[in-house]
Amino acid sequence: MTGSNRSTALALRGVSKSFDRLAVDALDLTIYGGEFYALVGPNGAGKTTTLRMVVGLLKPDAGSIHIGGIDALSDPVAAKQITAWLSDEPMIYDKLTPYEYLEFVAGLWRIEPAVAQARARELIGWLGLKPHAHERCEGFSRGMRQKVALAGALVHDPKLIILDEPLTGLDAGTARQVKDVLRARVREGGTVIMTTHILEVAERMADRIGVIARGRLIAEGTLDDLRRQTGKTATSLEDTFLTLVAEQAAA
């Protein structure tokens, strides 16, 4: 799948970020509309830092970030209007119910109340939260909290959804529900970018996979593209990934 004739959902050019050490090193990345993109890499490779810069939670030291053609650094409010962020640790309010949480999110994104309410009901039903829609979130399991957070990310109908390890700690049933919802978003034309350590998920779900190590994109493409890059065919993504990372470490 190529993106030559498709709109660009996200474009990073020369993006760098340092903390005590260089976390992201002049990263170039292009993701197209309607694409499911998986970003994989070893711990500390710079995946989360990259995505946090995209959603405006971190300021890059250098480079440019465009979301749907909007310069996210000069007009962050417009960029945020079409973006959703879901971190690995679901951050929701214990004292609100899922229904109230979604009303709050819709209020922040200034979504028409009738539209937001219809979407909220749909999402609550879709994610199996209906019996708990009016219960406070404080007693919810991790999986339920993640579902509420996901519903919050989708209620304002974002064009670009960015997820950092969304399946961590979820049981098989909940993970399946989350994956189904994300696939449906891509079918409807949305763009999904996801970091994951579960390479099987990336292999099955992603249109393209980006491998990041030491803050640089070391490989990108479909699974076949990555295999070709390592010179080994008929290997799993796990083998391909380990080979690529080992080559990068040795370089």
């Binding site: 417009a78 945020k80 209007q81 971190s87 004292k95 922040l108 009016h134 219960e135 404080e138 007693g139």
Partner: protein
């Protein structure tokens, strides 16, 4: 070699954890700050000794055969301190019940849970005694230096007070568990603890207001009525006071009684402690159904959505409400004094207004921490399409709105008698609240709302700046209410504090 899982081994483990907690509290988690913390502690110790000299030096030569007035005064002071110790111990016991940090490990290990909890109770008692000794030490040292070594017996009384306070706290908290259950005990015990801590002070102040028309709690202790109704000076009731004055027989009796009480409490309650901890563990999983806000989502601006969220979260958290509003409890005596003054036509506003302004500043500081640092979904709010300064503005509005709502009745009541004083008071409240909020904004961190009580330890500068800013605004308001142009002095200091905070704030960097 100490046998594993024995009482001594467990006590060593608790001691190590307690020591590390204390070091973390003093250094705010930064190892490099140890030297600074040490210097600060030495300065505080010197300051406390000077303060103690100023307040108790005249009593250093009090004789053992003191009259009823001295015994009533000492006993009242001891009881006042004991009520605060009891309050602190109840807090610790409640926290120990509900803290899940290592309970799962302990309760699933083959170690005797009874031994573990006995040691844990001992740790609570040790902490209570340590706090009491630290606070009392400057006063005892000054008295001993000026009046002789006999005053050192007061250390024994302070240790006994800590032990008895822990025993009473254990009994009270476990009684609450048995009567109202694990679900309600957490909240009720903390409210009871705060009320116990404040009740005696407030009670004495109320008595002083009615008897002498002032806020001095010692006025009530030294009143004719109190002296007439006090037990005979030979009564055992005065043993703690006599022990403080150096009566070694009374000291021995007090210490033996306290140790026996603590031993008994640990022996009786160590088994129940485990049972109640298990019961407390089940509380969090209980579902709370919420009445629907309404059938339809409502149209609101982003700022109003944020403000509404802050108010809803606070309203639904009785623990946070109780922690925040407990400061308002201390407004009861000034409010009463206001009412008494209003009826008698005297002018006591100069005394009242700074108390109210100070309370407003402290309350605003707490609320600002909750709304700014205690944001439970910071990523969500930060990635919303709202300008960052608009988010902060909405949060500041939420804090000022809450403070205004709480203090409006007092100001309105004041306005009936003196419109100028009410205006000054209102402006003082808003200034103190805005300043405290700005300080919290400058020192914002990311924290859980449940860590509210630990907020003072996260930034010493913010804590002190908040307190001094409230004091400066209180002084400004008092002088302005008195019609003095000197009000400009503390106002400049207040602005100076804000400017300094802005200059050193981590958020600016």
């Amino acid at each position: 070699m100490i046998q594993q899982a024995s009482l001594t081994w467990l006590a060593g483990h608790e001691l190590r954890l307690g020591w590390r907690d204390w070091v973390s509290l003093i250094t705010a988690g930064g190892r490099t700050r140890a030297r600074t913390a040490f210097v600060a502690l030495v300065c505080i110790a010197i300051f406390m000794h000077v303060f103690a000299y100023w307040t108790v030096a005249t009593f250093a030569n009090a004789s053992l055969t003191s009259d009823a007035a001295a015994l009533v005064g000492i006993t009242g002071t001891l009881f006042l301190s004991w009520s605060l110790l009891l309050s602190q111990a109840m807090e610790s016991v409640t926290r120990a019940f509900y803290s899940r940090s290592d309970l799962d490990l302990i309760l699933t290990s083959p170690a005797s849970a009874r031994k573990v909890f006995a040691v844990r109770m001992g740790r609570i008692a040790t902490a209570a005694v340590a706090i009491a000794v630290l606070l009392a030490a400057p006063f005892i040292n000054v008295l001993a230096a000026l009046g002789g070594g006999r005053w050192l017996s007061a250390y024994g009384v302070v240790i006994a007070m800590g032990a008895v306070a822990t025993s009473a706290a254990l009994a009270l908290t476990i009684a609450l568990f048995r009567t109202i259950g694990a679900k309600r005990t957490r909240l009720i015990a903390q409210i009871v603890a705060a009320v116990i801590g404040a009740a005696f002070v407030i009670g004495l102040q109320i008595a002083a207001i009615f008897s002498a028309g002032n806020l001095s709690r010692y006025t009530a202790l030294q009143s004719d009525w109190m002296l007439q109704h006090a037990p005979d000076t030979t009564s055992a009731f005065w043993w703690p006071a006599r022990a403080v004055l150096g009566d070694y027989v009374a000291l021995a009796a007090v210490v033996i009684f306290a140790v026996a009480m603590l031993g008994l409490a640990i022996a009786v309650f160590s088994r129940r402690f485990g049972e109640h901890s298990i019961a407390a563990a089940g509380v969090s999983s209980a579902a709370v159904r919420q009445r629907r806000w309404g059938l339809a989502f409502r149209r609101r601006s982003s700022a109003r959505t944020l403000r509404q969220k802050e108010w809803t979260l606070l309203r639904r958290d009785p623990w946070l409400v109780s922690q925040s509003l407990m400061q308002i409890l201390y407004l009861l005596p000034p409010a009463l004094l206001l009412w008494v003054t209003f009826r008698s036509g005297h002018d006591a506003f100069v005394v009242l207004i700074p108390v109210i302004v100070m309370a407003a500043g402290q309350l605003a500081g707490g609320l600002a921490w909750l709304t700014i640092s205690g944001e439970d979904a910071p990523d969500l709010v930060s990635t919303a399409p709202i300008a960052t300064n608009r988010i902060f503005l909405a949060k500041i509005e939420a804090v000022i709105g809450m403070v205004a709502l709480i203090f409006a009745p007092l100001v309105a009541f004041l306005a009936f008698d003196d419109l100028f004083a009410a205006t000054v008071c209102g402006l003082g409240i808003l200034s103190a609240a805005a300043a405290a909020t700005m300080i919290q904004l400058c020192f914002r961190i990311q924290a859980r709302r449940s860590h509210f009580r630990r907020r003072q330890t996260s930034s010493r500068i913010a804590t002190f700046a908040e307190a001094f800013s409230s004091i400066a605004w209180a002084a400004t308001s008092a002088l302005a209410a008195a019609g003095s142009w000197q009000a400009i002095g503390p106002a400049i200091v207040a602005f100076g504090i804000l400017a300094s905070v802005w200059l050193v704030s981590p958020s600016r960097r």
